[in-house]
């Protein structure tokens, strides 16, 4: 069984086979022979040599959460056939960092703005989040108006690098 996991923009390729009482996990050209028991739903006790890994795994809507050695990792499974192309976060990507309400818009289409100018103010949980220009640029499109509800990841303002 081949599985790919995505964690913070990295994809990890893993193979696991079950033979008798053991699992054979291959990752990064190393094979780990382990014994495992799911002691409670999602709670694993894994014996690897004379070491024991205790881990708790739960499933969210799209991702899995792994608790191991006091740390939590959020991991997304990746379909083998459609290896997700890693999208490099463009510094001109002005997506909303939070779901909230647009409280003010300081620019309109066609405006020329300077680096760090505030383009839009979004409020959530009584805190304000400022969308700033990443560099000197021209406003191509403003996707929201004041008092609009905005969801996390939605593009607030579209910009283009100023042509000299």
């Amino acid at each position: 069984m081949f599985i790919n996991y995505e964690h913070e923009d990295h994809v990890y390729n893993v193979t696991i086979e079950r033979k008798n009482n053991h699992y054979f996990v291959t990752y990064d050209n190393t094979e780990y022979k382990v014994q495992a028991e799911e002691v409670k739903p999602g709670q694993l006790k894994i014996k690897i040599g004379d070491r024991i890994i205790k881990s708790i795994i739960t499933e969210g809507e799209k991702e899995k959460f792994v608790f191991v050695e006091g740390q939590v990792f959020k991991v997304k499974p990746v379909e083998l056939t459609s290896m997700k192309k890693r999208k490099k976060k463009d510094e001109g990507d002005l997506s909303s960092p939070i779901s909230g309400k647009v409280v003010s818009i300081n620019v309109k289409k066609g405006d020329l703005v300077k680096k760090d100018d505030v383009l839009m103010v979004i409020e959530a949980m009584k805190m304000e989040y400022l969308i700033r220009a990443p560099y000197d640029c021209k406003i191509k499109k403003v996707n929201f108006k004041e008092k609009d509800q905005i969801e996390i990841g939605q593009t607030t303002v579209e910009i283009s690098k100023k042509e000299d």
Binding site: H10, R18, V118, Y129
Partner: protein, 501 residues
């Protein structure tokens, strides 16, 4: 003593107050918004009343609705918790108007201390040191800009009605002053309904040290020592401890007396906190007085052995303080870590979603004040604080280790939390030495990310095993049904660690 009170709050603080009431045989009425119908405070209370829409203004901030419920349920008093209506003088007044006791100071004191400008002026008169700044009435932007230039940079723009970092801006240069004033005014308007701001000098290497006060309604005021709350992000505390690593007996005595004087100067009653800014040379300045039970009150409870929530109830019921200042002592060391649903690697943005698993650490001298459970939905309607973890030990070094152990055994899955971040702060060499200021997080954890080394091999193995157990078992069933001769049918007899698959 009261027979029944209403708790106008949610989350861990509502739970904390209900537990105090139960120990004192006081019946409790909880209120809850639609999204909180299964919340712990609803489960624990004797009565729970649905207050409607989750939007705070329609629920936990809705004074007429809450007052109506208090009347209908015959509650004799209302405990406001912290946040929401805790420091709202109109609410306190609405309670006293219908002869329901508001568990906190009188409305007049709340308004006075809620108006940070008036509070500072009063403290200056009472000879409590205050930070230089502009607390004037001219609130137009150009006057404020002029005053700001006089004070010099860096300076702070603060909402007069603010708290918890809301409506607060640090301004490093004149260029950003106008924008910061306007944005602070807007934020303050939407959070507190008032856009008055003031400006003050920004203190170098500042520590935030506050003193807990208890004042009864018969003129007795005591302080219960300090809390060091310098570790903050976005101007909100995340780690608090007591005693403060810089405190000396002499300074404690001086600041404690100043705090008691501050409380006496305003005719304070019930539990309150006097916040001071302390600079690198241990000069202290009055910042503000919080007229409520603080989030971080448990560390004082652990080091003094005094139950602050119960004393709030006793004082509100008219009882006299039986505690005398000279009889109080501080013993050992306590730390509180606030567990937030937020992403420290991404500007501490709140994280929402369903908590797929919650399991708190259990051990000697570990306290978990929590308002969450497995399966609970964390929404964007309310503050993203999930719980507070508090540990107690003989001394600071031992206690840091205990807290790190406890955090390592705190399981919260389903949303991103700050648990790993908190551990790294506690593990930081400067934190361990006690060299902390309110800039600590900005100075040392600016570009912090959770995993420098990516996914550890143990996590990968655990995931693969989990997926192997869970995906294949479904396939096995299918193969068995479809093809009785399939080699997979033998899989059904495999035993993994002694358990039939």
């Amino acid at each position: 003593m009261f027979k029944k009170i209403l708790i106008a709050n949610r989350g861990e603080i509502a739970v904390r107050i209900i537990k105090a009431c139960q120990e004192m045989d006081i019946k409790t009425v909880a209120i809850y918004s639609k999204v909180d119908k299964d919340a712990p405070h609803v489960q624990l209370s004797d009565e729970a009343i649905n207050i409607g829409d989750p939007i705070p203004l329609e629920s936990y901030l809705n004074i007429p609705k809450i007052i109506k419920i208090a009347k209908e349920t015959h509650a004799e008093a209302i405990h406001p918790g912290y946040g929401f209506l805790a420091e709202n003088p109109d609410f306190a007044k609405s309670c006293s108007d219908i002869n329901i006791k508001f568990i906190g100071p009188p409305p007049k004191v709340i308004s006075l201390m809620g108006d940070k400008i008036a509070a500072k002026t009063l403290m200056e008169k009472a000879k409590v040191p205050v930070i230089p700044g502009y607390h004037g009435e001219k609130q137009d932007t150009s006057s404020l800009i002029n005053e700001g230039k006089k004070i010099g940079f860096p300076l702070l723009v603060k909402a007069a009605a603010g708290g918890g970092g809301k409506g607060m801006r640090i301004v490093h240069s004149e260029k950003l002053l106008e924008e910061s004033i306007e944005s602070a005014k807007r934020e303050s308007k939407s959070a507190f309904g008032d856009n008055t701001v003031f400006l003050e000098k920004y203190i170098d290497k500042p520590r935030h040290i506050e003193f807990q006060i208890l004042a009864d309604e018969h003129g007795n005021v005591i302080h219960l020592f300090e809390r060091e709350c310098s570790i903050q992000r976005r101007h909100q505390k995340i780690i608090e401890e007591t005693p403060s690593p810089v405190m000396t007996n002499e300074l404690r005595d001086k600041m404690g007396k100043a705090a008691v004087n501050a409380a006496k100067a305003v005719g304070y009653t019930n539990a309150g906190t006097v916040e001071f800014m302390v600079d690198g040379n241990l000069n202290y300045y009055f910042m503000e007085m919080n007229t409520r039970l603080q989030v971080e009150h448990p560390i004082t409870e652990l080091t003094t052995g005094i139950d602050l929530a119960k004393w709030q109830l006793r004082i509100a019921a008219g009882e006299k303080l039986t505690l005398k200042q000279n009889d109080l002592s501080q013993r050992g060391h306590a730390i509180e870590c606030r567990i937030y649903a937020e992403d420290p690697a991404n500007g501490f943005l709140p994280s929402i979603g369903r908590l797929t698993k919650v399991e708190a650490p259990i051990g000697p001298n570990i306290r978990d004040d929590s308002g969450i459970y497995s399966g609970m939905e964390v929404t964007s309607f309310y503050d993203p604080m999930l719980s507070k973890l508090i540990t107690y030990s003989e001394n600071r070094n031992d206690n840091i280790k205990k807290m790190i152990w406890a955090l390592s055994h705190y399981i919260v899955l389903g949303v991103t939390t700050n648990i790993t971040f908190l551990k790294e702060v506690l593990n930081h060499a400067e934190f361990k030495k006690g060299n902390i200021t309110t800039h600590f997080i900005d100075n040392f954890f600016k570009d912090w990310t959770i995993t420098k080394d990516g996914l550890p091999v143990d996590a990968i193995i655990a995931l693969a095993v989990y997926d192997s157990i869970h995906t294949k078992s479904k396939e096995i069933v299918r193969y068995k049904e479809e093809d009785p001769h399939s080699p997979w049918k033998h899989v059904g007899r495999w035993r993994v660690g002694g358990r039939e698959v």
